[in-house]
């Protein structure tokens, strides 16, 4: 075992794994984290704790992850390259592991122009690929990126990365995934999938190259409550493809929330059947309370028991 996390155990046992998501609050309210944590308790192997997502200042992902651990939840702490240099990032990796974090998701991070501090200076001392390699080196070679040894207590982390099958150039996306796996990613969570055909096409290429055997691919699904949310994402979020038919379906729904749940369940059913998909990453952005409902309806409960 690389980390001994529940997520790693479920994936290595060959079970279809589930991760959910928890966005920390934009204040110091630990209760808000505790409340959100309850939605995912016992229904997912682990829960991603986002790191200042969309570049909006929120409680630190590692602090929120520590609170989640106290609630009995296993976190996947997210770490972006936007805000810290390699000194601060390695320091936080050590700190996260010391607090009991066992899964770390490495991302570049949304550019600061999308958030509430567009005047900030970004860092990108390392990029997401290099962050993955850095954490792997800390874990497996017991060395900092500088080459200095970590004499003992190296951070034992299950390393995650993201992949976006919907960005361009399409033919490079699988190549980039291969690079992330080569750099050291143990599991991959994809960008929100709405265009299942394109996802299927991408997965075919992933399987052709045998990448699904080198890292666990988890399909990202985002339930939405309104067609407005879909239209917003289509217009404003680069790298998300949303078919018009889906918007029309939500437009025509009597109860958009119920329809959103139904759509998410249908999508989960379909991705479960795609070769090479090892799990689900459910991202109910700002709608964490729906997590157990969807997982129940999708037949993913109860979760498998692992040692």
């Amino acid at each position: 075992m690389k980390s001994g996390s529940k997520l790693e155990k479920v994936l290595t046992a060959g079970e279809f794994a589930v991760t959910a998501e928890l966005g920390p609050p934009p204040n110091s309210n630990a209760e808000a984290v505790i409340k959100k944590a309850k939605h995912s308790l016992g229904v997912a192997e682990a829960v991603n704790i986002t790191d200042n997502q969309t570049a909006i200042v929120r409680m630190s992902s590692i602090a929120a992850a520590a609170i989640a651990i106290q609630q009995g939840l296993e976190p996947v702490a997210q770490m972006v390259c936007r805000d810290r240099n390699r000194i601060a990032m390695q320091s936080d990796v050590l700190g996260a592991a010391a607090l009991g974090v066992k899964n770390l998701l490495c991302l570049s991070g949304d550019h600061q122009c999308f958030g509430n501090h567009p005047e900030a200076k970004n860092v990108y001392c390392v990029d997401s690929m290099q962050l993955i390699a850095m954490v792997k080196q800390m874990r497996d070679e017991k060395k900092f990126i500088s080459g200095d040894p970590i004499k003992e207590y190296e951070p034992r982390l299950f390393i995650g990365a993201v992949a976006n099958p919907f960005a361009d150039p399409f033919e490079f996306r699988v190549m980039r995934l291969a690079k992330k796996i080569e750099a050291g990613a143990d599991f991959i969570q994809t960008q929100c999938i709405f265009d299942l055909d394109r996802f299927e096409e991408w997965m075919k290429l992933v399987v052709e190259q045998g990448l699904h055997k080198k890292a666990y691919i988890m399909a990202g699904i985002t339930p939405v409550r309104s067609s407005r949310a879909l239209k917003y994402m289509k217009a404003e979020v680069a790298g998300i493809t949303i078919p018009d038919a889906l918007i029309e379906r939500m437009d025509g729904a009597d109860d958009p929330k119920e329809e959103g749940v139904k759509i998410a369940c249908e999508m989960i059913e379909r991705v479960k059947g795609i070769e090479g998909v090892s799990g689900l990453h459910l991202m109910p952005i700002g709608w964490e309370s729906i997590t157990p409902v969807i997982l129940e309806k999708a037949g993913l409960l109860p979760r498998p028991e692992v040692d």
Binding site: C81, R82, R86, S108, G109, H111, C113, N122, Y124, C125, V126, D127, S128, M129, Q130, A133, M134, I145, V162, A163, N164, F166, A167, D168, P169, F172, M175, R176, A178, K179, E182, A183, Q191, A238, G239
Partner: protein
């Protein structure tokens, strides 16, 4: 070339509000080519300042001059007498020129009339784009001659990120995703394998964060 952009007139007027006689110094180098700081730009700015000050009932005298390059002491020496005769210097060279003036004439207040933007070249008439960040460790050999350090909003060495759509950067739809262009270029060159390797973390010591950088060309030393 170094590309500069004129500061707003109000800001310039504020810098020189206490002075009755100034020198407005252009530069015959890069900023002449990009229209913001040559002798014509100096002439235009001088008349705008004079007009504004006249309207305010507070006239100003301006001596205009444009050395071949404001960034070399030897081109500045000839203006020593004129500089002595004014209260301040308004420089519309790049930031390098402004500093050369400040050092050459330390007793004189030199203020900038431009915002120095970047190193780049014109992509069409009167449009310039940034092409180099002066990071001190050039990667153009394996990127197909396109710089991700100056042109990628995240300075990625393993791009493109997930925000690259239709060859455009997520940060600004008017900006091409340089990583998509690098991919296209390397494909044409038959060198896509350049992108399959994980590029290691950059050594930023060569860049701007180790204090002022200095280069010595030994062979030319006197």
């Amino acid at each position: 070339m170094i590309v500069g952009d004129r500061k707003p007139l109000e800001e310039i007027l504020d810098y020189i509000k206490d002075y009755k006689k100034i020198m407005l110094m252009g530069c015959g180098g890069c900023v002449t080519v990009c229209f913001s700081g040559g002798s014509k730009a100096a002439e235009l700015l001088a008349s705008q300042i004079k007009m504004a000050r006249k309207q305010a009932g507070n006239e100003i005298e301006i001596i205009e001059c444009t050395p071949t390059r404001q960034c070399e002491y030897e081109f500045l020496e000839e203006f020593a007498e004129q500089v002595k005769s004014v209260e301040a210097v308004l420089s519309i060279a790049c930031g390098v020129g402004v500093q050369a003036m400040a050092v050459q004439f330390p007793e004189k207040h030199t203020v900038p009339g431009l915002n120095t933007k970047f190193m780049g070249y014109p992509v069409e008439h009167a449009v310039w784009e940034e092409k180099c960040a002066g990071c001190g460790d050039c990667v153009l050999e394996w990127t197909g001659g396109l710089c991700p350090i100056s042109r990628c909003a995240k300075k990625l060495l393993n791009g493109p990120c997930g925000g690259s759509v239709d060859k455009v950067c997520e940060v600004n739809k008017d900006v091409e995703c340089v990583w998509h262009t690098i991919y296209d270029r390397l494909k044409v060159l038959g060198k896509l394998e350049n992108l399959t390797k994980v590029r290691k973390a950059k050594d930023w010591r060569t860049s701007t964060n180790a204090g002022q950088r200095r280069i010595t060309f030994e062979e030319a030393m006197l």
